[in-house]
């Protein structure tokens, strides 16, 4: 085996440095391009298989704040985002109460006590072919 010349060694060193620099720069570029500072909020949520929501059930979700309701007429859902300023309302003895500013709603989402002036929003809910419930919050 022949000893590499000084020239070959410098060439090898230079090429190695340039390849590594290129890899580092490429990694940085990918990381930069991959970062989405202003992502579009998610509007569709897979709530799971339909079997998890038996007839006459009301299942509380915290993310997104919502309550899918299963009645004989089908599935519906209420948003649990207070219509006053957007806090997540909590279940109470007579419906829902907002822990932030005291608004209250009955079990159907109708306002019973301000400062909120609008009822809790109804959310679109659909059943997929795979028998999953998909909630839309847009």
């Amino acid at each position: 085996m022949t000893q590499p010349s000084r020239r070959d060694f410098l060439k090898l060193l230079r090429d190695g440095f340039l390849w590594m620099s290129g890899a580092l720069a490429l990694g940085g570029l990918i990381r930069f391009l991959d970062f989405e500072p202003n992502p579009v909020p998610k509007t569709e949520f897979d709530l799971g298989p339909v079997e998890q929501f038996p007839l006459n059930s009301r299942t509380l979700f915290t993310d997104p704040p919502s309550i899918p309701i299963h009645t004989e007429s089908g599935f519906s859902a209420l948003s649990l985002v207070c219509t006053h300023l957007g806090c997540a309302v909590e279940q109470s003895a007579d419906g829902f109460a907002c822990p932030c500013h005291g608004s209250r709603f009955n079990v159907d989402g109708a306002v019973t006590h301000g400062p909120a002036s609008k009822h809790l929003a109804s959310l679109r809910i659909e059943r997929t072919e795979e028998n999953h419930l998909i909630l839309h919050i847009d």
Binding site: R14, S21, N38, A88, G102, T112
Partner: protein, 402 residues
């Protein structure tokens, strides 16, 4: 030549590695999309250790930017903070409308009780109108004690006091050296004043002066120490027309009040100021008042009545009563429909009180949650005339030695 190329490529690699290392030291961005704005912000990248500011302003709902301003997408601290409102105090009255205002928040409908900002702007705690009028009258700059000037210009088109506006007081326009000195030395601790330099004074204006009970905390459970930050901060020297700030740190509440001649009954040094003084007294009623006396009225008789008259009471029947809202915001007591509470002479609910079955009363400390009971004057041995029931008369018998 080959040697230099190898050297240059080595330097390039080192530079890129250094940039990568510097970048890896930056915190991982933490995005939050508040429900209220729907716009991502990255403040939590550096500020995730801060406590929730209050139960009424959860960060998941409000985020940071809606109140504080700032560049929501910036990860560089200087850039992120570059457009913040009011520095560490977004409630400073110079920026409060943008930070805390809005019809759904604190500058809404008067009937709905959402006109907090308008009330504070015109309150004597902001305008200092009475003191300015007194000093100007004393030194001959105005013919009477009417309020013409405030710390800032304010207007009240629906006045009930007859004062429709105050001009901003500018001591440089005064000819009396005493008034000029008063203007320079004595106007720094009111809600609409320019705060003094330094972190210690930064939150002593605007809403924060009363409600920021600790760093990044807003509360209606306001302890007397919060009031003392201004009201026991020192005293005026009327000879030199200066404000002499006290250098000690008061610990004994009764003995360390700044005015040695002040008199106190037990409840005055046991309860917190907000246990008796109402939000209207503290924050104003929306009208411009000529002085403090015109708006502050809670006295002993407000809770104790007089020898001939019991204090006013109200039984809660309306779930939308303001008393219920106030009790919800500071849940020191479980106020229910059917409860009977004391109300002031002007009808404001003292929601932290109860009328007990035996005709005595209870009060729950808004800041301490302590439970106190007390009696009406009627039926006691008090022989004071029912007509003369200001606190000064009560102090004659009930003040303690200081």
């Amino acid at each position: 030549m080959k040697k230099y190329l190898a050297l240059a490529s080595g330097l390039l690699l080192l530079t890129l590695a250094f940039i990568g290392w510097m970048d890896s030291r930056r915190p991982t961005p933490i995005a939050l999309t508040p429900t209220l704005t729907g716009q991502p912000e990255y403040c939590l990248t550096c500020h995730s250790d801060l406590p929730e500011i209050s139960t009424s302003h959860p960060v998941k709902t409000f985020g940071c930017v809606i109140c504080h301003g700032g560049e929501r997408l910036a990860l560089d601290a200087n850039l992120a903070h570059s457009s913040m409102r009011g520095g560490v105090n977004p409630s400073d009255l110079s920026v409060v409308e943008a930070s805390c205002g809005g019809s759904n928040c604190h500058s809404g409908d008067q009937a709905a009780g959402r006109d907090h900002i308008q009330r504070v702007m015109t309150s004597v705690q902001s305008t200092y109108a009475g003191a300015i009028a007194n000093i100007r009258y004393t030194f001959g700059a105005q013919p009477d004690l009417k309020a013409y000037f405030g710390i800032a210009t304010v207007t009240d088109e629906q006045t009930k006091t007859g004062i429709t506006s105050l001009q901003a007081f500018d001591p440089s326009h005064e000819s009396s050296p005493s008034i000029q000195k008063f203007g320079v030395n004595c106007l720094t601790c009111h809600l609409h004043a320019q705060p003094r330099e330094g972190e210690a004074y930064a939150r002593q204006t605007g809403c924060a002066a009363c409600h920021a009970t600790s760093k990044h905390t807003l509360s209606t459970a306001i302890p007397y120490t919060q009031c003392n930050a201004c009201h026991n901060r020192g005293n005026y020297n009327l000879r030199t027309m200066t404000f002499e700030e006290r250098a000690d740190h008061p610990t004994t509440r009764l003995h360390d009040y700044y005015q040695p001649i002040a008199q106190f009954t037990q409840c005055e040094y046991t309860l917190d100021c907000v246990d008796c003084h109402t939000r209207t007294e503290a924050m104003g009623d929306g009208d411009i008042h000529v002085n403090q006396k015109s708006i502050e009225y809670a006295q002993c008789k407000t809770c104790h009545g007089t020898p001939t008259k019991l204090p006013r009471t109200q039984t809660l029947t309306d779930p939308n009563d303001i008393a219920s809202t106030l009790a919800m915001l500071n849940p020191v007591t479980n106020l229910k429909l059917g409860d009977t509470i004391l109300v002031t002479e002007k009808g404001e609910p003292l929601w932290n009180t109860r009328v007990l079955a035996d005709g005595t009363y209870a009060l729950i400390g808004k800041a301490t949650r302590q439970y106190f009971t007390f009696r009406p004057v009627m039926g006691s041995g008090c022989t004071q005339s029912g007509e003369d029931q200001s606190s000064a008369y009560c102090h004659e018998c009930h003040a303690v030695e200081r």
